[in-house]
C-alpha cells in the first residue's frame, strides 16, 4: 500500500483540459515535487488532491483510502495539510490565533462546552497553546506571535502559513510554491525548514515549485508536467536532463 497514490487523474474546465490522466505515487517520508511551465496543471492537481474541485476521472488514495468520496474538511482529520500559492491566512487575526485555528482538528469540545467555557475547554486550550508554541519555536515566529497578519511582510506571512499547516500535525504536507515571492535568503530558510520538516518531524511533503535550486536541494523525486500530462519522473538530476522536460521549457530543438 502506497502512502499517496494518484491514478489517471483528470479534470476539464469547459473546453480546457487542465489535468489529463496524471498518475504518480508519493512514498512515505519523501519530498516529492511537481514542476512544469505555467499552466501545466500543477496547482490543479493540488486542488484535486485537496478536494477543492471534484475530479472528472481518476482516483486518489491516501493510505489506501479513497479521497474521492470525502468532503474537503475531512482531509485535515486524516492528516493532510496544505499551504496556498498566494497565501490564504486569516488576515484580521493574530499569528497566534492563525496557528490556533490550525489546531481545529485537535479540539476536544463542541459548541455547548465552548459556550460555557467549561473546564474541558480550558484544559484543551492550554494543550493547544503548548502545541502551537512548539511550531512557533520551530519556525522562529516568537516575535510576531501577537501581531496581526494584515500588517506583516510577505515573507513572514509565508512562514506563518507554513506554521499553520504544521500546527495541524499533518502526515502529508502539500506546499504550493513555498518560495514564490521570497527573496534569496528567505528561500534559503524555506529550504532548511522543508529539510527539517522531512527529517526531524518525519512529515511527507508534496510540493509544487518553480525555483530549481530549491527543488534540486530538497526533493527526493520530481514529477515534470506539461499541458496537463506527466512528462517525466525521477530524481531532480534525471528530470532536469530529460529531453521532454527541456523541450517543454525551452521549445523543440533547444
Amino acid at each position: 500500500m502506497s502512502f499517496l497514490r494518484v491514478e489517471n487523474l483528470g479534470v476539464r474546465f469547459g473546453g480546457v483540459v487542465a489535468v489529463d490522466g496524471v498518475s504518480f505515487e508519493v512514498r512515505k517520508g519523501e519530498v516529492f515535487t511537481i514542476i512544469g511551465p505555467n499552466g501545466a496543471g500543477k496547482t490543479t492537481v493540488f486542488n484535486l488532491v485537496c478536494r477543492i474541485y471534484p475530479a472528472d476521472r481518476g482516483r486518489i488514495e491516501f493510505e489506501g483510502r479513497d479521497l474521492g468520496a470525502l468532503a474537503p474538511h475531512r482531509l485535515a482529520g486524516l492528516g493532510i495539510a496544505r499551504t496556498f500559492q498566494n497565501i490564504e491566512l486569516f488576515e484580521h487575526a493574530t499569528v497566534l490565533e492563525n496557528l490556533l485555528i490550525g489546531r481545529h482538528r485537535h479540539r476536544r469540545t463542541g459548541f455547548w462546552r465552548d459556550l460555557f467555557f467549561a473546564r474541558a475547554v480550558r484544559e484543551s486550550e492550554l494543550a493547544q497553546r503548548e502545541a502551537v508554541e512548539k511550531v512557533i519555536d520551530f519556525l522562529d515566529l516568537a516575535k510576531y506571535r501577537d501581531s496581526r497578519v494584515a500588517g506583516l511582510p510577505y515573507g513572514v506571512r509565508k512562514v506563518v502559513e507554513l506554521g499553520r499547516a504544521l500546527a495541524t500535525e499533518p502526515r502529508l504536507l502539500l506546499l504550493d510554491e513555498p518560495s514564490s515571492g521570497l527573496n534569496p535568503e528567505e528561500t534559503d530558510d524555506m529550504a532548511f525548514w522543508i529539510e527539517d520538516i522531512q527529517k526531524q518531524l518525519g512529515i511527507t511533503v508534496l510540493m509544487v515549485e518553480h525555483d530549481m535550486g530549491l527543488v534540486a536541494r530538497v526533493s527526493d523525486r520530481v514529477l515534470a508536467m506539461n499541458e496537463g500530462r506527466a512528462i517525466a519522473l525521477g530524481t531532480p538530476a534525471e528530470v532536469q536532463a530529460d529531453r521532454a522536460v527541456v523541450e517543454a521549457y525551452l521549445g523543440a530543438g533547444a
Binding site: 482531509l75 496556498f84 490564504e88 491566512l89 486569516f90 484580521h92 475547554v121 486550550e125 495541524t168
Partner: protein
C-alpha cells in the same frame, strides 16, 4: 502605556487581561447595578432598551462581525421571539421557561434561514435574509388567529412566582441576560468554535482545508445569533407591552444592522455602543424636530438620518464607534508618537482566486 507580560498560557485565557480592565468593568457594573437608585424613570427605560438592543447586537455581531454572514432579516427573529413570549406569557408560562422557548424557536428558524447561507454569499445572502424578513412580517400580519394581525396584541407583564416583576425587577432581568449574552460571546470567541467562525469570515477555502466544517459552523452561527435575537425579542415584547407587525419591518432590520456597523464590525464592545447610539438617536431627532421649522422636519427624517449616518460611517470610520475609541486611546498611550496611518487597512496581497 501598558505592557502585558504573559508568564503562562493561562494568561491568554483570562476574562480580564489586566487590573485596569477589572477596575473599569467593575465600575460600570456598579453603576448599572445601582441605576434604579440614581436614574429617573426615563433613563431607566432607555437603559432597558439599550440592554435589549445590545443582546441583538451581540447576536448580529457574532454572525456578521465574526462569521462574515450578512443578515438583513434579523427583525424577523425579533418578531419570532416577541410573539412566542407574548403567546406563552398569556397562558401563564413563567419567564424561565418562555424565554428559552423563544430563543429555541428563533434558533430553529435561524437554522432554516442559514441553509441558503451555505450557498449564497455577500449581497445575495443579504437579499435572501431580506426576503425572509418580508415573509415573516407578512405571516404575522395575516395569521390573525394567533398574532391578531394588524390589530396587534397586548403582552402580559412578566410574572415570577405569581407576582408581577416591577420596573426595577425587569431592568435587572434585562441586565442579567445582556451580561450572560456578552459572556457567552466572549466564551465562544476564546474557544475553537469562535475561531472557526473567524476562519470562515476571513477565508473559507483555508478554513475548510484546516478541517472546519463550513456548513456546520455557519448553521451554528446563524442559530446562535437568532437565539440571542429571540431572547431580545421576548424582552422587547414585555417592554413595549403591545405587538403589531410593523414593529418588525424591514426598517427595523436595517436599524439592527446599523448597530453592528456603527458600533464597529468585529468588536463585541461595538454592539453595546451601537445599541446605545441607535436608541439615543431617535430621541435626539425628536427633540431636534421641535426646534426645526415644519418644512425641514418631514416625517421621514429619522430614516434619512439613519441612512446618512450609515453611509458616512462606512466611508470615513469603517471601524465604527469602538474603532474611534481605540484610535483615541492609542493616541494618548503613544503620545506624541501616534501616526495617522496606524489603523489604516493594509492592502491585501493577491489572494488565491475565489474557488466557489
Amino acid at each position: 502605556m501598558r505592557f502585558l507580560f504573559k508568564t503562562s498560557y493561562a494568561d491568554d485565557l483570562r476574562l480580564f487581561q489586566h487590573g485596569g480592565q477589572v477596575f473599569w468593568y467593575g465600575l460600570l457594573g456598579l453603576a448599572l447595578l445601582s441605576a434604579p437608585a440614581w436614574a429617573g424613570e426615563y433613563l431607566m427605560t432607555q437603559l432597558v432598551f439599550i440592554a435589549i438592543y445590545s443582546i441583538v447586537g451581540f447576536g448580529l455581531m457574532m454572525l456578521t462581525g465574526f462569521t462574515g454572514q450578512v443578515s438583513l432579516g434579523h427583525a424577523a427573529f425579533l418578531a419570532v421571539g416577541a410573539y412566542t413570549e407574548a403567546l406563552l406569557a398569556a397562558r401563564g408560562v413563567p419567564p424561565f421557561v418562555s424565554i428559552p422557548a423563544a430563543a429555541a424557536l428563533a434558533a430553529a428558524l435561524g437554522v432554516v434561514v442559514g441553509l441558503p447561507a451555505l450557498r449564497l454569499k455577500g449581497i445575495y445572502l443579504a437579499i435572501a435574509t431580506l426576503a425572509f424578513n418580508v415573509i415573516v412580517e407578512e405571516i404575522t400580519a395575516r395569521w390573525e388567529s394567533v398574532t391578531h394581525g394588524n390589530a396587534g396584541m397586548p403582552v402580559a407583564p412578566v410574572k415570577l412566582f405569581g407576582s408581577e416583576l416591577g420596573t426595577e425587577g425587569f431592568y435587572y432581568l434585562c441586565l442579567a441576560l445582556a451580561t450572560a449574552a456578552a459572556l457567552a460571546c466572549v466564551n465562544l470567541l476564546r474557544s475553537p468554535t469562535g475561531r472557526a467562525f473567524v476562519a470562515i469570515r476571513d477565508s473559507e477555502v483555508s478554513a475548510a482545508c484546516l478541517g472546519v466544517h463550513l456548513a456546520k459552523y455557519k448553521t451554528v452561527s446563524f442559530a446562535f445569533s437568532a437565539a440571542l435575537t429571540g431572547v431580545a425579542g421576548a424582552l422587547y415584547a414585555h417592554k413595549v407591552g403591545f405587538l403589531s407587525p410593523e414593529q418588525f419591518s424591514l426598517l427595523v432590520s436595517i436599524e439592527l444592522i446599523t448597530i453592528v456597523i456603527l458600533g464597529g464590525v468585529g468588536f463585541l464592545h461595538g454592539a453595546v455602543l451601537g445599541a446605545a447610539f441607535v436608541i439615543v438617536l431617535p430621541q435626539a431627532i425628536a427633540v431636534a424636530k421641535d426646534w426645526l421649522p415644519e418644512t425641514m422636519a418631514p416625517s421621514g427624517l429619522q430614516a434619512v438620518v439613519f441612512g446618512a449616518i450609515l453611509i458616512l460611517v462606512i466611508l470615513f470610520e469603517p471601524m465604527g464607534l469602538y474603532g474611534r475609541w481605540l484610535k483615541i486611546r492609542t493616541w494618548f498611550e503613544l503620545f506624541p508618537f501616534y501616526r495617522r496611518g496606524m489603523f489604516r487597512r493594509q492592502r491585501s496581497y493577491l489572494r488565491t482566486e475565489r474557488l466557489r
